[in-house]
């Protein structure tokens, strides 16, 4: 797999998550489960490629999401996706990470992302739901989807980003 594939693949992922995935979510869960596929990809970049790349991917795709679905305010997704993907890279980059650890980290990061997004909306008084309600209503069910997706793409994502990191390292030498 080569380096040039990362961005087109993530663009495709973004398109799927905003158009096709809503049709696949079962009726009672509609509006509750939020797919963060692009964010999961950015986290994989942080784990296996490097923190700067994760920051750029997270920020860029977050910004696209912010602008395209501009409803209440701009900047929530670009800030959170960038910062959380970067932090993941900062803490775990370059370490040998087995699959279960990777999934656990992704689950934790997704939870953090949703909770922080809720926090921002709460601060700007866009929502007045309690955190307990939002947690049970949408954050917890979405978490399963995110981890499921992370598991499904683990092998290709790792191959893609590790190849990229190796190539970068080779170039640096």
């Amino acid at each position: 797999m080569n380096k040039k594939l990362v961005i087109p693949l993530m663009v495709l992922l973004f398109m799927l998550e905003t158009t096709v995935v809503p049709w696949l979510i079962p009726e009672p869960m509609y509006g509750r489960i939020a797919p963060h596929f692009v964010f999961v990809a950015a986290l994989y970049a942080g784990l296996y490629a490097g923190r700067h790349q994760a920051l750029l991917l997270g920020f860029f795709f977050g910004l696209v999401q912010d602008i395209v679905f501009y409803g209440h305010l701009l900047g929530v997704h670009s800030l959170l996706m960038g910062v959380i993907a970067y932090l993941t890279g900062l803490l775990l980059e370059g370490k040998r990470i087995p699959m279960l650890t990777a999934l656990a980290v992704i689950g934790l990061a997704c939870f953090l992302y949703d909770a922080a997004a809720y926090g921002v909306y709460r601060i700007f008084r866009v929502t007045h739901e309690t955190f307990e309600f939002v947690l049970l209503h949408s954050i917890a069910p979405s978490l399963f989807l995110q981890i499921g997706f992370a598991l499904a793409v683990y092998v290709p994502a790792r191959r893609l980003f590790e190849a990229k990191a190796k190539k970068n390292a080779d170039e640096a030498e």
Binding site: M15, W23, F69
Partner: protein, 296 residues
């Protein structure tokens, strides 16, 4: 003294410093973008329209495929629905005759009362059809995009309806596409609070203000109903057009229950929305006549 140098040491850490600056910048951006904005900047327009242009190639076919499977599963239901629709059409044909007569008479009376041109056109709403091209999956910001924008004469705050009833308000307008905020986001405590002034079809004198959505019950909350208001269960709630934002006569939902409000002075009613907010494919934007003139 020791503590101060400690503080400086933390700030000498470049990463933390940058993070702080980033947080401040983003807080400013969020605050700035929160309120009403009639025009967006060109980078926003460019990114928004380009991405949505691609999204529209995905949403429709996906919906079509999903619909195909759904249709097979719901064959029986569709049969029943067809029966129902047939009786509705029969009723419609009957009502049409009455409507034509009343419209002619109305026209004549307006003429007789010397209505001004502007008054006559006041309720001439134009229903512009729009396709939904993408859906946001953020549960706290559940906007969707339609394929009409400022070049088609769409402005912020126009009402968006389906054949069932009111769905939302146009939130932000890009040149070729716009985002729609569903009425499930109504919130009297939010900074950009909007409310729908409503009345019911059965009693013209009823009045209330819909300004909240109860996510846990899935119902709109209608406040400030007078104690002696004739509004009762199963009444059809429509917009009253008094607030100036929403046009007159759009169906919102049916009254589910009514009780004494928080302060005991007025009543509160729960309204079951008529429109389905999930999986929309086609909506109508209600364009009021001469919006420039109508705007205060």
């Amino acid at each position: 003294m020791g503590r101060v140098s400690e503080l400086f040491r933390i700030f000498r850490n470049k990463k933390l410093f940058v993070l702080l600056i980033v947080l401040i910048v983003f807080a400013a951006i969020m605050g700035f973008s929160l309120g009403q904005r009639d025009k967006l900047t060109w980078p926003e327009n460019f990114v928004g329209d380009t991405v949505t242009f691609v999204q529209q190639w995905f949403y429709k076919p996906a919906g079509y495929l999903a619909g195909l499977f759904e249709d097979i599963r719901k064959m029986r239901e569709i049969y029943r629905e067809n029966e129902e629709l047939r009786t509705t059409v029969a009723r419609y044909a009957r009502d049409r005759v009455t409507y034509n007569r009343i419209e002619l008479e109305n026209e004549r009376l307006k003429e007789a009362l010397e209505f001004k041109e502007r008054q006559k056109r006041m309720f001439d709403y134009e229903y512009v059809i729009a396709q939904v091209v993408a859906v946001s999956q953020d549960p706290l910001n559940p906007t969707f995009k339609i394929n009409l924008g400022s070049t088609d004469g769409i402005r912020p705050d126009m009402a968006v309806v389906t054949t069932d009833g009111l769905v939302g308000l146009v939130s932000r307008v890009f040149p070729l596409y716009s985002t729609v905020m569903p009425i499930t986001q109504l919130d009297s405590e939010s900074s950009g609070a909007r409310a729908i002034s409503a009345t019911v079809m059965e009693h013209k004198e009823s009045f209330g203000v819909i300004e909240d959505y109860d996510t846990q019950r899935g119902m709109l909350v209608m406040n400030r109903i007078a104690e002696n208001d004739p509004l009762s269960k199963d009444d059809v709630v429509i917009t009253s057009g008094l607030g100036g934002v929403y046009p007159y006569g759009l169906v919102i939902g049916t009254v589910e229950s009514r009780q004494v409000g928080d302060f005991g002075l007025t009543h509160t009613a729960y309204i079951k929305p008529a429109a389905d907010f999930d999986r929309l494919t086609e909506v109508f934007v209600v364009v009021p006549p001469d919006i420039e003139e109508a705007a205060p």
